[in-house]
Amino acid sequence: MNDMRAVERDVDTNDLKITARGVDVFYGDTHAIKDVDVDIVDNTVTAFIGPSGCGKSTFLRCLNRMNDTIDVARVEGSIMLDGEDIYDPKVDPVQLRAKVGMVFQKPNPFPKSIYDNVAYGPRIHGLAKDKAALDEIVEKSLRRAALWDEAKDRLDQPGTGLSGGQQQRLCIARAVATNPEVLLMDEPCSALDPIATAQIEELIDELRSRYSVVIVTHSMQQAARVSQKTAFFHLGELVEFGETGHIFTNPSDPRTESYITGRIG
């Protein structure tokens, strides 16, 4: 953990992109998220860490209202995006999700060609004015997701025919192509080799200049490498939230320390 201290952690701005206050999530009777407050700062990477089943994905899904699609899920508390409550009845969840993109924990390419997978979002939102512009978006997104070299000769083949790790990168490319303001990534590197992981981490760092990124990860090293802020969840509670350097070098809660040194999890 010594190298952590050496990593420079600069938070470019301090504009709050998302503020969550007193968020509770219930799945039927299960209380999955308990009174969580989190601030997502613009142009930063925020990492969510914590043992399996602690509610990281659940909280992430609250940020773009993906929990709406689960019948039994109920969200309470307030989540503001740019000062606007996203659970306000006025807000259109479809619009919201275009702004807050998501890469899911399990790769879920559509049963369409690789090209159509990436072009899906831009087409729906009319981001490309012609075929050439769309081609360009697709190529750029695939390049950023480090998939271009492998996929450029088989763009018309089904995305479901790719390997697990390639599918994961395809889903990242798909999310990036839509140009969201916030990108939520649920374990985006879980099936990737070290080289692809490094490329995705590079992408995340690059995205930070324009968006804010929230990443769920089980790798402490990854959290330390890519994020400026870290939130540690445990059994549905937010145990500790702060500067990544601080959390990894000088955690204030004993549970955080146990987790990052490998004693709970």
Binding site: N64, M66, T69, D71, V94, Q95, L96, R97, A98, K99, G101, M102, V103, F104, K106, N108, P109, F110, P111, K112, Y120, G121, I124, H125, P158, T160, G161, C171, R174, A175, T178
Partner: protein
Amino acid sequence: MPLLWILVIVLCLGVAGYVLGRQRAMASAGGDRRILHSLPSYYGANVSIFTIVPALLVLTIWLFVQPVVIERQVTSMITDTAIEDAGSRGLVMTDVRRVAEGLEVAIEQGALTSEEAQNIRTEFTNVRSRLGEVGVALGGEVTPEVLDAAQRYRELNRIGNQMMTIVVLILAALGLGYAYARTHQEFRARNTVEYAILTILVLASTIAILTTVGIVLSMLFETFNFFQLYPAQDFFFGTEWAPTFESDASELGLLPLLWGTMYVSVIALLVAVPIGLFAAIYMAEYASARVRSFAKPLIEILAGIPTIVYGLFALITVGPLLRDYFAEPLGLGTSSSSVMTAGIVMGIMLIPFVSSLSDDIINAVPQSLRDGSFGLGATHSETVKQVILPAALPGIVGAILLAASRAIGETMIVVLGAGAAARLDLNPFEAMTTVTVKIVGQLTGDTDFSSPEALVAFALGLTLFVITLGLNVMALYIVRRYREQYE
């Protein structure tokens, strides 16, 4: 020995074999089941299988073969004059069988002892009235020749049954002994049982396939007979359907019927596919659990209504309605039976087929695909159109083709809704008819199976079969091509 007893004994031997086999296996392993190659129950099952299966197999074959052999033996006893008297060999043989059965019944009821039955003579006894007393009615007086044949028939049957009993029981015992002797701790009982199960499964599919082949062959055979009597090109390309009773004048052209079938089916599908599919999408994607829980059964009730009831609905409600509000004002005819009537009502009948199958298929599309689409900011209908329907397409195509097969095969709705007049016409408000209706029409009433008017039914049936087969092949092709693209 009665058949039931043989079965019971064989099954008992099987059970005994199970117990013995198990015991022997355990004994051979010195009571330690871990030494055994397979679990003890497999050794038991193995002995059981060897006891029961060959014995029952032989029993089944015997039951089929014995009557044929006996029939042939007895037939040879009957002289040509007797055959001429009765009209045909078959009729004489029927008499022989009835007399033989009658004698058995008489013995059973105590009206005759077995010796009396053995020695009964037409010269001294009125066999017909004696058998009449025990409730076996005969068509005419029993001739000595028939009586002799009947006695021979009984005798052969008795011997046959005895031999069958002996053979089957010996086989069961042998099987038991063989398998028991082979039972040993190293014997791979699990593999034999596995093999036996495989055989049963293969047998089941073979039966399914053979039945299909049998049906097709019988149709082919009769169709062939038809084409001996009626030229094939007149059947396939004839535009006139006018069977008469003077065979030479009959016009048996397929085209008007095929046209009617296609016309009605297309209208039915035009009604059923959009409504069924949209209902399915609503049920699977939008409806809340509460709405779903009562709306889905409600739609499925449609599938439970007998088609004759739909037919009545067509006849009484839809037909007059279409005539009064569409056909007559538009000057398209005054008939209340019409292709439109039958097509619409048939479409209503098909809605639940399309909707309930499509609903299941849409539900089977993984939630993660929906999440992926929503996560990119797609609306619900965009998700349905661009992700869910393409993913569900093979299944939906299958559902539609299934509905098409139903439409082509439907009869009652057409009879009551579209009438029975064969016609080649474009006007949808005109009465027409379909292939199935005419199959029924040609085979009801007095039919002479050597006339082309009756045999044409088989040619029509075969045509329908080929069409539905074609539809299924097409469905498979579409589905497979689609899979290749997206898997």
